[in-house]
């Protein structure tokens, strides 16, 4: 159910958005992307999301000295509230971007080494968190507002090659 159908649905949604824009007579800066180009863009995004998923689950040893990974405390990136950034955080005393809060959680609960904010890995951290909050309302600045990620039935929450183990292979 997860992998193929989800991939297909998302792809179809992407396509129908493009179609709707066309129908509405939207002007394009250049001719619309071909389905192949769109598929490539999507694949590149999912590759970053997948890297992010691995990073949230301990793929980089230097992000922790006490064994903790983001996934310990933020399953499915819950309580990371990416769509509420930028916002005021009391530990900084100012408005900060999501990436800075990622580094805060690396340095504090995990006592690890912060990521370069412009690195591909930081983009991946962000890609995974935002992808699991897709479709959620963007509400910058609401520091006290606890949001929830999208509901995931099983799988990773994004289209990824199944492992072939357990229910990951469930149709």
């Amino acid at each position: 159910m997860m992998s193929n159908t989800t991939m297909k649905t998302e792809w179809v949604v992407g396509m129908s958005v493009a179609a709707a824009l066309l129908a509405a007579g939207a002007t394009w800066a250049r001719p619309p992307f071909t389905p192949e180009e769109l598929a490539e863009q999507k694949a590149a995004l999912i590759e970053s999301v997948a890297r992010g998923y691995d990073l949230w689950h301990g793929a980089r040893a230097d992000m922790t000295t006490n064994g903790l990974a983001c996934g310990n405390c933020h399953p499915d990136t819950a309580a990371a509230n990416p769509q509420t950034f930028p916002k005021y955080m009391t530990m900084y005393g100012k408005v900060i971007p999501f990436r800075e809060m990622v580094n805060w959680c690396i340095e504090n609960p995990q006592a690890g080494a912060r990521l370069d904010v412009n690195s591909d890995d930081m983009v991946a951290m962000e890609a995974y968190a935002y992808y699991l909050h897709r479709g959620k309302e963007i509400t910058p600045g609401l520091a006290a507002y606890q949001t929830t990620p999208i509901v995931v039935e099983y799988g990773t929450g994004f289209a990824r090659k199944p492992t072939g183990l357990g229910v990951d292979t469930k149709p």
Binding site: D76, N108, A144, Y154, L165
Partner: protein, 339 residues
């Protein structure tokens, strides 16, 4: 029951699997562990002799020396030891260890040994899947148990059993454990207590009268909260069916690392705070949203954790009091709530 129970007595209570055995031996050595009086538990006529018990849960200890989670579990033990009146015993809700290694379990047992009162414990998935419970059983005894205490029948079950996903692909023990450690792992699927424990449970309660006060203790909730994170027990409907003859059943569980209450039929369900970290509430509506705790402040490393104590009255009413390390409770929960 005395406030100070020495090691050998305590071990002995936690190792004795069946109430009958515990009672027999306890009487034989002439100490009152408070687990006697099976007859009254069976008829329930005389009601409960009021008492309290505490719950500590989800310590998730790592192997590193002086890890912050060691201190957090020790804080929980100190908190329970300082309760007045002292609870009669402590239930531990599973996930002593993070990676299921023997050193982590031994460390957990050592910290829990400082409790002034007896301990009963059931396993969590983090305790189990490295060696399928071998080290855990060696340290803590049987994972399926029942005993009677002051008119109440207590049951403990191992609710974290999943279908074998490792044998066929030939996974190592460590691979199996690593897969189970991830809450939102796409691989293991929903867990439960499985057939053998269901049969055991049916037998265990067969001769109990419907007015017997029953407390059931598992790692995961006995209702479908958020199956994705195994906030569920797959055979909970069967468990609830077996226990449906009782007037009132209280279910207490760990695993969700948060405050939470629910009620289904004759069963009330209360979650335990963990001592390691709090978990966010999953993306589902709660039937009793007033039992949600405050958001944890990540700059206070002990926020969103704690212990809990339950006072049972003569009529088997429970007063649930969460005892968070920091300011986690909404006004609704501050003075406890009745179940």
């Amino acid at each position: 029951m005395s406030d100070i129970v020495d090691r050998s007595r305590r071990n002995f209570l936690s190792f004795a699997g069946k109430a009958g055995l515990t009672t027999l031996v306890a009487q034989a050595v002439g100490i009152n562990l408070g687990v006697v009086d099976i007859v009254r538990a069976q008829t329930g006529k005389r009601g409960v002799e009021p008492f309290r018990f505490a719950i500590i849960s989800d310590a998730h200890l790592y192997s590193m020396p002086d890890h912050k989670f060691d201190a957090q579990l020790a804080d929980a033990v100190a908190q329970v030891n300082a309760m007045t009146p002292l609870p009669d015993f402590v239930l531990f809700g599973g996930d002593v260890a993070q990676n299921g290694t023997e050193d982590q379990l031994v460390k957990g047992k050592k910290i829990l040994d400082d409790l002034k009162m007896p301990l009963k414990i059931i396993p969590g998935e983090h305790d189990w899947y490295l060696d399928m419970g071998e080290a855990w059983r060696g340290l803590f005894g049987e994972e399926t148990w029942s005993f009677n205490h002051k008119g109440v029948h207590f049951i403990g079950l191992n609710s974290i059993l999943v279908k074998d996903f490792w044998t066929e692909p030939g996974l190592t023990n460590l691979e199996r454990m690593t897969i189970m450690e991830m809450l939102e792992s796409p691989i293991p699927g929903p867990w439960g207590v499985h057939e053998k424990q269901l049969e055991w449970l049916a037998k265990d309660v067969k001769d109990l009268a419907p007015d017997t006060p029953v407390v059931i203790f598992t790692h995961s909730p006995l209702w479908d909260y958020y199956p994705r994170w195994n906030f569920q027990t797959s055979d909970a409907p069967e468990i609830r069916e077996i226990l449906s003859k009782f007037q009132n059943v209280m279910s207490y569980h760990g695993h969700v690392h948060q405050t939470l209450y629910n009620r289904i039929g004759n069963m009330s369900s209360v979650a335990a705070l963990g001592t390691a970290w709090p978990w966010p509430y999953p993306p589902v509506e709660l039937a009793f949203p007033e039992t949600r705790m405050n958001r944890a402040d990540p700059s206070i490393s002990t926020d969103g954790m704690g212990t809990q104590v339950i006072d049972l009255s003569e009529s088997f009413e429970g007063l649930v009091q969460y005892k968070p390390f920091e300011d986690s409770l909404t006004p609704f929960m501050r003075d406890g709530f009745k179940v």
